[in-house]
Amino acid sequence: MSSKNTILLEKTKAFLLKNTMVIALVLVYLFFVIRSEGRMFLPQNINNLIMQNSYVVILAVGMLLCILTGGNIDLSVGATVCLVGAIAGVLMVNLGWNIYISMIICLLVGVAIGAWQGFWIAYVRIPPFIVTLAGMLLFRGLAQAILGGTTISGFSDSYLAIFNNYVNIPALDSGVVKYSCLIFGVICCAIFIVATIATNVNKKRKGYEVAKPASLYTKIVLLCGIVMLLMYKLSLYKGVPYILLWLILIVAIYTYITAKTTFGRHFYALGGNEKATKLSGINTNNIFFSAYVNVSFLSAFAALVVAARFTSANPAAGTNYELDAIGSCFIGGASAYGGIGKVSGVVVGAVLMGVLNLGMNIIGVDSNFQKVVKGLVLLAAVIFDVVSKRRAIKSLA
């Protein structure tokens, strides 16, 4: 009996440890719901949560790949957002170019910025901290020179629509409740359920180890419940925002790359032990290079999102965005030494930061004090990570 209890205790402990940040997210969210007398849970605020934090998720996913290579960060993402935003403004508004061609040019500028930084970091082996610190000044300066200290506004509606609009199917969404949103939720859940069961059946067929049915079903029910609740709330507002679709696409692609491809595996190996990775026949320079090209590419994409959201390109855009991205990664469980971290964790980290921002705004916390709270949360997350790991190692020693 007692041994059964201890096993249960151990299992609960392991579960809590594995999902600390998710649990923290739920608790923080509930705290704000209570403190704001339910306003945090209004459909409009849930919508705002997505709209306001879209860029953080995109940047954090890019930052994760850099951090995986060995705790290397990119300080220049905020400046890159500003520079690419400025270029977008000049091309689309001042020169009146076609928006799609302009967007492609902007993304290419991102790749070029990444190639510039990646070259120095990967092939000349200048420390990333230095290269990206220089980049932070360099690109911010270029952006301000391009903008001449002024703000460019007046992006065309067709451009803004790509990121700011909502899915609207006239037959379904003319009423108060946007039914397309609910249908979208059901489709997501269905895909998830079918995929989970299919892999499980496949594993069983090949005779591999499978997860216990109880935990599998709990996971399915919980996740689908959350998705449907979210979609229900959104359906009461304006429906599915396009940006949510973009985010799902990006997160899905990068989850797949990091978890399932050899390319993704190389990042984890490099961060775990560079010399061993090199001796395993992997070109470590190329991995560094692609990490920085990738983060700048995603920064350029985030720049397009940000420009659309603020309907302008301004010289202060992107200030401190790098800190949000880095913070999300570490809160989301990425190791400060590299080699450890998941895309899903980073998304949780980014959402937690977003919930803190939005919640504190809603209950009216002084904006200076908000920074104090965010700083403490970041520190606490990393301390927790380090201490819990140390304890795990001690118990094994």
């Binding site: 399932k260 050899t262 190996a269 775990g272 032990n273 061993a276 001796l279 080699g339 118990s395």
Partner: protein
């Protein structure tokens, strides 16, 4: 009546789920050299950590009497102030500080606000003379070799007025010459009244130096042998360690050498990676036949590792010259990937630094060199990867509950097997093993020898670099001897002896 400097009585230390020490009693007489032997994980280091206060009083049960007094050490400083100094296997020196600065680190001469540098360097030079190290105390640690660093650690211990010196695997990374020097130094100390406890896997050294030998197995003391005058031989110690007589330390193998030459290196020269004017491999010519185990003997720093790594896709060195033929065809291997494609594998001597990704599970480490074998169009088949790594784990007998175990948590012997599994999974034709049995226990060594025999039986060829001469003599078909970057001797294993190898090394040293 015997005079005990140290008595540890009924020490029991538990970690969650494991009893690391079980009612261990251990006595050391004043002025003797006491050896502590046992397989990896037997509890030797735990016992020494209890003694030195790394595991504070209260975290274990039992009592420690030092100089006849009951001691409650809370931290290392407490034990050091009593004259107990422990030197760990991984040296704790700061590379960019001078020898003297390192020696008095945390124990600075002068006052807290003003270090007396004259006294520091004078005292340091004095102590360096005692340990027989001919270096200026101003030299930076990074500029001296590992053998000399070990001596600095000992000089550092002397500066703390050591009475009881504990050395954990002091000779693990030393060559035979430096090891001998160190052991003789301990004998010197004995005459001056310093007591030493030495932990080592090198049984010949133990037999040479120790007065008493305590054998630990599975957290318990098996026996204490009196070896005054060198009366205990290696076989006797091994019997106590493994609980059975290892009839042979090297498994038998039918020679499977074929005439076909798989690897031929001609006039191979390599410059040092950092200092291009230093030649580390000097005009080496080398042949390896199919099914052959060729040993490269020599002292540490002879250029063996550099030679092996420069062959393996130029992973070491500058300005590499010479020709390389694989299966009779000349090839240029410009990086590690090329080398792997041409059927080469290099199993590093430094498994933690260069070999394994300690933060990743066994599964990931096993497939890293050949991810293409478990993936289609760069997408990894995780189920397949799981299965092949389970296969490799079972084939090599890695002791671990699952392949999802993080490699950093495994013992040294098991880590070495994972490293071998990784390169066997790469299916090379030529396997270069650099110090494949360093720092692992007798049982695991034997298993690794068996794996090597299986490899050559399957028609692969093996190059074995080793500083342990008995191992080279016991395992190889043919032996090259390397010294100062050159091949100074080649001999058939049947006619080779330790003396012949040593004399060919020395003949060059004299000439230089």
């Amino acid at each position: 009546m015997s005079d005990h400097i140290l008595e540890m009585r009924h020490i029991t230390k538990e970690f969650p789920g494991v009893k690391a020490l079980d009612d261990v009693s251990f006595e050391v007489q004043r002025g003797e050299i006491h050896a502590l032997v046992g397989e990896n994980g037997a509890g030797k280091s735990t016992l020494m950590n209890v003694l030195s206060g790394i595991y504070p009083f209260g975290s274990y049960t039992g009592e420690i009497l030092y100089n006849g007094k009951l001691c409650h050490f809370q931290k290392i400083r407490d034990s050091e102030s009593g004259g107990i100094v422990i030197i760990h296997q991984e040296l704790a020196l700061v590379p960019y500080l001078s020898i003297a600065e390192n020696m008095f680190l945390g124990n600075e001469r002068g006052s807290a606000m003003s270090i007396n540098w004259n006294e520091t360097y004078a005292k340091a030079d004095e102590l360096l003379a005692v340990v027989g190290l001919k270096e200026s105390s101003h030299t930076l640690i990074k500029d001296i070799g590992i053998g000399k660093q070990q001596l600095v650690e000992i000089a550092k211990a002397l500066s703390k007025n050591v009475q009881l010196l504990i050395l954990d695997e002091p000779t693990a990374s030393l060559n035979e010459g430096d090891s001998m020097k160190l052991l003789n130094l301990l004998k010197e100390f004995k005459k001056k009244g310093v007591t030493s406890i030495i932990i080592s896997h090198k049984l010949n050294e133990i037999a040479y130096v120790a007065d008493q030998i305590t054998i630990i197995r599975d957290g318990a003391v098996i026996e204490t042998l009196d070896s005054t005058g060198g009366t205990v031989d290696e076989g006797r110690i091994i019997r106590g360690m493994v609980g059975r007589e290892l009839t042979s330390r090297f498994p038998k193998r039918e020679s499977n050498v074929q005439d076909e030459v798989v690897l031929e290196v001609d006039h191979w020269s390599v410059q040092h990676a950092l200092y291009s004017d230093r030649t580390v491999v000097d005009d080496v010519s080398f042949k390896l036949k199919k099914g052959e185990v060729v040993g490269i003997a020599g002292l540490m720093g002879a250029g063996r590792t550099e030679f092996a790594m420069s062959i393996f896709g130029r992973s070491y060195g500058n300005d590499i010259r010479g020709t390389l033929k694989i299966n009779g065809k000349e090839v240029v291997l410009s990086n590690e990937r090329d080398a792997i494609k041409h059927g080469l594998a290099y199993v590093t001597e430094d498994r933690k630094g260069n070999g394994l990704i300690l933060s990743n599970p066994i599964r990931v480490n096993t497939t890293l060199a050949r991810l293409d074998k478990v993936s289609h169009h760069h997408v990894i088949d995780l189920d397949l990867e799981y299965n092949v790594s389970v296969n490799m784990k079972e084939k090599l007998g890695v002791k671990s509950p699952s392949v999802e175990q993080i490699v950093g948590n495994l013992s040294g012997g098991n880590q070495q097997k994972v490293l071998l599994a990784k390169w066997m999974f790469a299916e090379p034709d030529i396997m270069i093993l650099d110090e494949p049995t360093r720092g692992i226990d007798v049982g695991a060594k034997y298993e690794i020898y068996c794996i090597i025999n299986d490899l050559v039986a399957a028609g692969k060829s093996v190059i074995m670099i080793s500083s342990e001469m008995p191992e080279v003599l016991g395992m190889c078909d043919r032996i090259y001897v390397m010294s100062q970057g050159q091949i100074v001797g080649e001999m058939d294993a049947k006619s080779a002896t330790q003396e012949r190898i040593m004399s060919s090394i020395l003949s060059v040293n004299k000439g230089a």
